[in-house]
């Protein structure tokens, strides 16, 4: 198991990582998710031993490995730009780590063929020059090179970053299968939340150098703990709110009206999230509002409706068998604050 404790790092006096702590369990895929500049790659470099943290420790199975040099860590790293060796062919690239481990040439050949087929390349690729490979093939070779020495931990830095969309979708599935089949403990860096959902056992969400939230993908989606996380995950129906205490009840003043707070919260400026899938078209919920239908979009298993409530636009995710009135017509909606509302401090 990999563990980071209070890792801090600055460049030119600017904080790149502050007090980062998390664990990556053996056999799991842990995704470091965050926008550009959130410190994901720096974190990978620290784990790999390519960069040294100012404070904090990197532990492997409870042992501090902070001062272990790069080549003794036994961690595989697949670089964002692949960094394939231009003077070695495909075989030479994949075999490199095994040669460094002084394995016999028979075992090297066997292992190279093994990982080649694992990443879905035929043996004919062995003697191709790396410069003659397509983007997708280079990606597979880079992955094979990182996996060949059977590293204790493999790290993938935006492995699909430079590929086009169609190829990405296909390779993402393959990647997930390959890593799970190998039972590989993995740190996976990406800025794309869909990629993270698709591959992660656990997501570490980074923001400007600190850990914002750590959770399994489903949990993260259902229970974001901050406005930033909610926005970054692409959740809609976020609006400003002000908490006002009236007796024992706290009310939220929002653009769509006053709503009872779902849980105990402090006074002040807040942001609320009205979950699109927790709004109903009947009177099931305790809060009932009048709305106007603006747009509907059929999305296969789901029907997405855009409505307007008191000049605020909201999105509803409905089952696809729901009958909607014509565009522009009035509709009634309802929701339960406990189920549908989430409240974050603003900012």
């Amino acid at each position: 198991m990999l563990e980071l404790r209070h890792v801090t790092k600055s460049f030119d006096g600017q904080r790149a990582l502050s007090d980062v702590s998390f664990r990556a369990k053996t056999g799991e895929i842990t995704v470091l998710l965050g926008p550009s500049g959130s410190g994901k790659s720096t974190l990978l470099n620290i784990v790999a031993g390519l960069a040294v943290p100012e404070r904090g420790q990197v532990l492997w199975n409870e042992k501090d490995i902070s001062s272990l040099p790069v080549h003794r860590r036994g961690f595989g790293l697949m670089f964002q730009d692949y960094a394939l060796f231009p003077h070695r062919d495909v075989f030479g690239n994949i075999a490199f780590g095994l040669q460094m481990a002084r394995q016999s040439s028979v075992r090297i050949t066997k292992r190279v063929r093994e990982v080649l087929s694992l990443v879905g390349l035929s043996n004919e690729f062995e003697h191709r020059e790396v410069s003659s490979l397509s983007g997708g093939e280079q990606q597979r070779v880079a992955l094979a090179r990182a996996l060949a020495p059977q590293p204790r931990l493999s790290m993938l830095d935006e492995p699909l970053g430079s590929l086009d969309r169609a190829l990405r979708t296909r390779l993402l599935d393959d990647l997930s299968t390959i890593l799970r089949k190998a039972g590989q403990t993995t740190l996976y860096v990406t800025h794309d939340q869909e990629e993270a959902y698709a591959i992660a056992n656990r997501i570490v969400l980074l923001r400007a150098g600190h850990v914002e939230q750590v959770a399994a993908p489903e949990f993260l989606y259902r229970h974001p703990t901050s406005e930033f996380v909610a926005r970054f995950l692409g959740l809609e129906n976020l609006m400003p709110a002000t908490a006002v205490r009236s007796g024992r009840q706290v009310w939220l003043k929002t653009p769509i009206g006053n709503l009872p707070a779902p849980n105990r919260i402090a006074n002040g400026e807040l942001v609320i999230l009205l979950r699109p899938d927790a709004i109903h078209l009947d009177k099931r919920g305790s809060i009932q509002l009048k709305a106007r239908l603006i747009k509907k979009r059929f999305r296969g298993r789901q029907l997405q409706a855009r409505i307007e409530v008191k000049k605020t636009r909201l999105v509803l995710d409905l089952p696809s068998d729901v009958e909607l009135p014509a565009i522009g017509k009035q509709i009634a909606i309802s929701f339960d604050p406990k189920e549908a509302l989430q409240v974050f401090p603003r900012g």
């Binding site: 030119d12 550009s36 720096t42 790999a48 390519l50 080549h71 961690f75 060796f85 020495p149 830095d157």
Partner: protein, 583 residues
């Protein structure tokens, strides 16, 4: 951005490294600077000083332009260069188009073949044309025998035509490579779009293709012009005494008339012209990077659309291949053939295949004290070439290293254009500079055998740096990191990454320096001591001698030189790592 973070870190690491090694860095970039200062700027400065000395500022120019003869030399230099360039383009452009757009058998062979003349020493090319078309060449002797003629039917050597043909032979490959490669990567979609919008094929070429390829076209034309402008061996040997350009006249004024001030004035005029042309050329090369949609060549080429077209095109290409191959094959075969009716034939040899000319390489035909045998010349050349390889690497390595470090220091920013300067300076001018500057204190190297390797190093340095610097630059920190992550310790990184990557470039540079030194004629002709001629100098002497055996010796020496330089270049092409290397 994630990448930005990373690069900032790398930047700071490099900076620390540089600061720690600042002294070493300055020292290493000083080596090439001092070398250029002593052996490039000081000699050229001496030419400048000599041409202005005691005569007033504009006097030498006034003198040159007042003389009808010298004025006609300047005129002829421009005229022959212009005409050669136009003819080279006329041959090269259709071929460039065909290579770029069509698929046909022998395509890569033709491309490689066209490049062979470019790397051959001028003496070899001159000897090759002489062996094919000269008075003692295949064609003339063959025709004389066939038609029972008493005199030579084809007059090729010592004509203006010979100069033009040799220049086309030499430089067509520049057009093929610069224009053809660029054209080949231009997406045909752009042209198809124009056709779709109603342009006919001529309009498409005129308004779409031509403007797009024009930077490459201009760059190629200019480079060809520069080479033709400073052409030396071709004019001296194939043009003969009736034709004089600035380059040959500088040589003549120095070597025959010992009129150094006039030579210096001519050299200055030439220097100004070539520097201006080189500046324009580098500017154009910069514009070549204009963003146009480029594709991998394979996706673009197509087969011929009709049989007739195919036949016509193949005939043209076959003629071109013959044009490149015939003189070289003529040289090699002529060097092992004794023909009937050879003038001044000595010995008792019968017509037929013979290796006598090679066997005679150890013989001195004249007994002059200044005359060396071909074997001695080969030895001299090898010693000079070996020294040049050593010097060029000793100076080229630190220079490339400084360049690959990017521009942290003013020194290395200065170094880049400075190192390319000798490329735009004619060899004869360099030789003259050496004679003027290094013959007297403070730097008296007149009697020193190091003079020739020094001159050759100057000529070779731009090529050495151009193959070494990209290789050094290609060792991105990423590759080190990738190797380290895979378990390679610092020593293994050096052994498995750095050495293989730079090793090939080192061998390529060494071969470049060797090939340049062994074939260099212009500067060597100026400064070589008469008793120690190099191979090209001796070929020149032998070619201007009568006698079948001397002629045979010249051809045998030329053939050896052709094989050595051609083989060297072939090895370099093989060794070159894909992606690495610049034109």
């Amino acid at each position: 951005m994630a990448g930005e973070r990373f690069s900032r870190e790398r930047h700071s690491l490099d900076l620390q490294l540089i600061l720690r090694n600042k002294f070493l860095f300055a020292l290493l970039s000083l080596i090439p600077l001092v070398f250029l200062g002593l052996f490039y700027f000081y000699p050229l400065g001496s030419i400048l000083a000599l041409s202005f000395e005691s005569e007033g500022f504009l006097k030498p120019f006034v003198e040159v332009f007042a003389s009808v003869f010298l004025r006609s030399i300047v005129g002829f230099t421009f005229w022959q260069a212009s005409l050669s360039t136009i003819l080279t383009l006329a041959v090269g452009l259709p071929a460039a188009y065909l290579l770029a757009r069509y698929r046909f058998p022998g395509k890569s062979f033709l491309r490689a073949l066209s490049g062979v003349p470019f790397v051959l020493p001028t003496l070899v090319v001159a000897a090759a044309f002489d062996a094919l078309l000269g008075p003692r060449g295949w064609l003339n002797l063959g025709l004389m025998r066939l038609l029972n003629l008493d005199s030579v039917p084809i007059h090729f050597v010592n004509t203006f035509t010979a100069i033009l043909v040799a220049h086309i032979f030499y430089n067509t490959t520049i057009v093929l490579r610069l224009v053809g490669d660029f054209w080949g990567r231009l997406s045909p979609r752009i042209e198809q779009a124009a056709r779709n919008l109603g342009a006919n094929s001529w309009q498409t070429f005129r308004h779409i293709t031509l403007p797009l390829i024009s930077p490459a076209l201009a760059a190629a034309a200019l480079l060809v012009y520069i080479f033709d402008f400073t052409s030396f061996g071709v004019i001296l040997i194939l043009g003969g005494p009736r034709f004089a350009t600035l380059e040959t006249e500088i040589y003549y004024q120095t070597a025959a008339l010992f009129d150094l001030p006039t030579a210096a004035a001519l050299a200055l005029i030439q220097l100004i012209c070539t520097l201006a042309l080189t500046l324009i050329y580098t500017g154009l090369i910069g514009r070549l990077s204009r963003p146009v949609e480029l594709r991998a060549p394979r996706a673009i080429v197509r087969p011929f659309s009709s049989f007739g077209k195919r036949v016509a095109v193949m005939a043209f290409l076959a003629a071109l291949a013959l044009f490149f191959a015939a003189p070289l094959a003529g040289l090699a075969t002529r060097s092992i053939t004794r023909l009937e009716g050879e003038r001044g034939q000595t010995g008792s040899g019968k017509p037929g295949i013979t290796f006598d000319y090679y066997a005679a390489l150890g013989q001195d035909q004249r007994g002059n004290i200044f005359f060396a045998t071909p074997t001695e010349a080969i030895r001299t050349s090898l010693i000079y070439a070996g020294s040049t390889v050593f010097l060029a690497l000793a100076i080229g390595l630190p220079a490339s290293w400084a360049l690959a470090r990017r521009s942290y220091a003013l020194l290395s920013r200065l170094l880049d254009p400075l190192l390319m300067l000798p490329l735009g300076t004619s060899a004869v001018t360099l030789g003259l500079g050496f004679i003027v500057a290094l013959n007297s204190p403070p730097l008296d190297l007149r009697a020193s055998p190091i003079l020739i390797p020094l001159a050759h190093t100057l000529v070779a340095l731009p090529f050495v740096v151009r193959s070494l610097a990209p290789a050094l630059r290609s060792i991105r920190p990423r590759l080190h990191q990738a190797a380290a992550v895979l378990g390679a310790g610092p020593a293994q990184v050096l052994r498995h990454i750095d050495v293989p990557l730079v090793g090939r470039a080192l061998i390529v540079s060494a071969l470049f320096a060797f090939a340049i030194s062994i074939g260099e004629f212009g500067a060597t002709a100026m400064i070589a001591r008469p008793e120690y001629p190099t191979i090209p100098v001796l070929i020149y002497r032998l070619l201007s001698q009568p006698g079948a055996l001397t002629y045979g010796q010249a051809l045998a020496l030329s053939t050896i030189l052709m094989l050595v330089t051609g083989g060297g270049m072939l090895a370099m092409e093989k060794l070159r790592v894909a992606e690495i290397g610049e034109f």
